[in-house]
């Protein structure tokens, strides 16, 4: 393998992501030293190995004596699943509406954009609180909230792009060739916004992980005892002084995962879509 070629890729973020998010998410069953739900009540609140603990629990244990490392590893599954499903749903809805609004313009556009306004104006966390209060915290509720929060951003961005793309001559050419509206939207316009969707989706992974963590922190994320990262931080937050490792390491996992995803998203954006200005 030529090194110079490798250097063109953001190796560090990819490595971190693999180590923190993907490998644990896929192989936690085999990699994690312990069952993440298994309590070792005699080993409660054990510090990490370099803080006077044992190799058995490398990153220490929580207040029920569960292995922090194993829980973080399994938590990656939830981070990944929620991001993947939530973003997929949000992006799909948003992209579709954005495409339709930008292409059709007129009334459709106005209606969709007002919906976007409404969605942006409703504070997402409050919405989640209400959801959770109505149906109890659940994986599905988190996905719904994530999708609800995200779709509007996608719709806005995609619509703006479609508005300019539809004025490009190739769209006119496709119509001159006799293509139907559906064909034009799906075969000509959609491929031109796919990059944007991909870049935005990547950049949103961080947002979603943080949102999930915030929801868990408020007690309205995925329910206990699921080792979702946000819940892990929230669970240990009282004990920051005496058992800092319980929330510190999940916090670090969130930080690193989000940071790497963002770096990757940046890199993707530079590669795929230098014009996209999105945060």
């Amino acid at each position: 393998m030529k090194l110079s070629r490798l250097r063109r890729y953001p190796l560090l973020p990819i490595a971190v992501l693999l180590a923190i998010l993907f490998i644990p998410a896929l192989f936690a069953e085999w990699l994690a030293p312990h069952d993440p739900y298994q309590s070792h009540l005699r080993n409660r609140l054990q510090p990490p190995v370099f803080w006077g603990g044992t190799w058995d629990f490398v990153l220490g244990t929580d207040r029920l004596g569960r292995c922090v490392l194993s829980r973080i590893m399994h938590g990656a599954q939830y981070a990944l699943a929620i991001s993947a499903v939530g973003i997929f749903v949000g992006a799909a809805i948003g992209t579709l509406l954005g495409l339709v609004a930008g292409y059709a313009r007129g009334w459709t556009d106005i209606v969709v954009m007002r919906l976007v306004d409404i969605s942006l104006a409703l504070p997402s966390i409050l919405l989640a609180l209400a959801f959770a209060a109505a149906w109890g915290p659940s994986f599905e509720a988190v996905i719904i909230v994530v999708a609800f929060v995200l779709w509007a951003y996608f719709a806005r961005q995609i619509r703006a792009e479609v508005l300019s793309i539809r004025e490009r001559d190739f769209v006119a050419r496709a119509r001159v060739a006799g293509g139907s509206h559906a064909r034009i939207v799906l075969l000509h316009i959609l491929p031109n916004v796919v990059n944007t969707v991909v870049v935005m989706a990547t950049l949103q992974v961080g947002v979603v992980i943080l949102l999930e963590a915030a929801l868990s922190f408020l007690g309205i994320g995925v329910p206990r005892p699921t080792p979702a990262w946000g819940l892990l931080v929230a669970d240990g937050r009282w004990l920051v002084v005496s058992a800092w490792w319980i929330s510190f390491f999940p916090g670090v996992a969130i930080l690193l995962a989000v940071l790497s995803v963002n770096l990757l998203g940046d890199w993707l954006r530079d590669r795929l879509d230098p014009e996209l200005i999105e945060v």
Binding site: L64, A133, P223, P225, S242
Partner: protein, 505 residues
């Protein structure tokens, strides 16, 4: 001696209001009720507005005689029987949300003279003094203020009679009080000012305490150690303030109740016993309460109340003791899991103000249950949702509970073990209903005690719940500011007797 301000960082109350009858019975430091409590024993005494009280033979008439010199704050005058009648009417009005309001209601109320009030009932009410004491009690407002300013007056500056008087409230943030100059009882609290500050986040409470911004806080026990390590101290209620455990909801066993489900795993007494035997209570008390809790054989029974059965304590180890082996046998015997269409045991994890341990308790239950082969699932829900399920009689789940503080036996039995106790769907059966009814109708103390004992023994033998421990209310204090606080642990939120907060030198 005269110290400045003491700040209490506390969980936000369920209802944050000066209008006592719109709350859940948490009493503000500026108010007093008719009946007081001894700060150490928790027994009723005349330290508040009533000089003395008595009931007639049939317990259908209760008479309270007021102290003559009791005086409202801000110059609203002496406390009279009219104020009591006025407060009674307010408190039992249609918008009342207060605890046990039905128990407070009387057939009629009458001011016999300026300082005598009589409550009359259609049936016997043996426990009526309780309704005017620490928990779920009625506090006395000034009628003069109401006549002049209406409810708005109470909202902006309610006059009470206690040693602290109201200064201001920031809704959702806290309430401030100040020492009453020349209090009618001659009480002189150590602190000039008293601030209750609502802090939902335990870590923030701890930080406040450590930063010296708050001096007393109801920290969860889990982090008390951190505060102790930083030189803070613990003050405890003088008596156990509550008894905790977990209950089997959804046991709607009264004959003919359509909500009854025989196929629930815990409808089978063997499963109930197995679940009880799965619990290592010593370890749980260690984890949940840092070892500072007394195991109890029945979480509703208390030596201070009617119907205490001392033998249950001895029988406890034999029937409820930690024995996973036996638990497994029992389960096998009951045919668990195959005999049940839905063998999963749902455990509620909830946040209840004042009970930060409930979440952990749910997880612990899960750990122990799974260790003996029970299948479990944790359901997070808030208190309101749980209550809603109970009320619609669909609460098929296991939930941590507390009996806080100890309430009279009759009310406790009715609440948790009859159809009338609407909020929970605890263990109900013809037997429990019958015993509760009988208790209500009986006025003879010996007879009552016997019935209550029978009820507790019955419930004990039915494995009607999973008792855990009697625990004290514990507050973490800054010893450089607060030396001590003597309170009996009898109010809804456990604390009372604010005027006894003692300043450090």
């Amino acid at each position: 001696q005269a110290a400045g301000k003491v700040v209490l960082a506390l969980d936000p109350p369920t209802a944050d209001t000066n209008l006592f009858w719109n709350g859940t019975g948490e009493r503000l430091p500026c108010f007093q009720a008719l009946v007081g409590h001894d700060p150490i024993t928790g027994k009723y005494n005349n330290s508040e507005l009533a000089e003395e009280w008595s009931a007639n033979e049939e317990f259908t008439e209760w008479t309270f005689r007021l102290k003559k010199n009791a005086e409202f704050h801000f110059g609203w005058g002496r406390v009279t029987a009219a104020d009591v009648v006025h407060s009674y009417e307010l408190t039992t009005g249609p918008d009342s949300t207060i605890n046990s309001i039905e128990h407070l209601r009387a057939a009629s109320v009458e001011a016999l003279d300026d300082h005598t009030v009589v409550f009359r009932f259609e049936t016997a009410r043996t426990d009526y003094a309780f309704q005017h004491a620490g928990r779920g009690s009625m506090v006395v407002y000034s009628k003069a203020q109401f006549d002049k300013e209406g409810v708005d007056g109470y909202v902006s500056k309610p006059a009470g009679t206690a040693a602290y008087q109201y200064v201001e409230r920031q809704p959702g943030a806290g309430v401030t009080f100040e020492r009453v100059p020349d209090h009618w009882q001659g009480a002189v609290p150590d602190f000039e000012m008293l601030e209750l500050r609502w802090i939902p986040e335990p870590a923030t409470k701890l930080a406040l305490l450590l930063a010296g911004e708050a001096h007393i806080s109801d920290l969860p026990r889990e982090i008390q150690a951190d505060a102790l390590a930083a030189g803070k101290a613990i003050v405890k209620s003088k008596n156990p303030a509550m008894s905790t455990g977990a209950i089997f909801n959804g046991m709607y066993g009264k004959t003919g109740d359509p909500a009854y489900r025989a196929d629930l795993p815990w409808s089978d007494i063997r499963v109930r016993e197995a679940m009880n035997r799965a619990l290592n209570r010593e370890e749980m008390i260690e984890i949940l309460y840092g070892g500072r809790g007394e195991p109890v054989p029945s979480w509703l029974m208390d030596s201070r109340n009617e119907g205490y059965v001392p033998e249950l304590k001895e029988r406890f180890e034999g029937m409820y003791g930690y024995d996973p082996e036996r638990a497994r046998e029992l389960l096998a015997d009951a045919g668990y899991p195959d005999a049940f269409p839905d063998p999963t045991i749902p455990i509620v994890s909830s946040v209840l103000s004042g009970n930060p341990e409930f979440g952990t308790m749910a997880e612990l239950l899960q750990v122990y249950f799974e260790a003996v082969g029970l299948q479990t699932e944790i359901r997070e829900m808030d208190w309101a949702t749980l209550g809603n399920l109970g009320r619609s009689r669909e609460a098929y789940l296991i939930s941590p509970v507390r009996n806080a503080p100890i309430r009279p036996t009759e009310a406790a039995l009715v609440n948790f073990h009859t159809v009338r106790g609407t909020r929970y769907g605890g263990y109900e059966s013809d037997m429990s209903e019958g015993l509760a009814d009988k208790l209500e109708q009986t006025i003879n103390p010996q007879e009552r005690s016997r019935i209550a004992q029978e009820a507790f023994t019955y419930l004990f033998e039915q494995y009607a719940d999973m008792p855990l421990a009697a625990v004290f209310a514990e507050l973490t204090v800054d010893p450089t500011v607060v030396k001590d606080w003597t309170f009996p642990g009898v109010s809804t939120n456990s604390v009372s007797h604010y005027h006894l907060i003692a300043a450090a030198e």
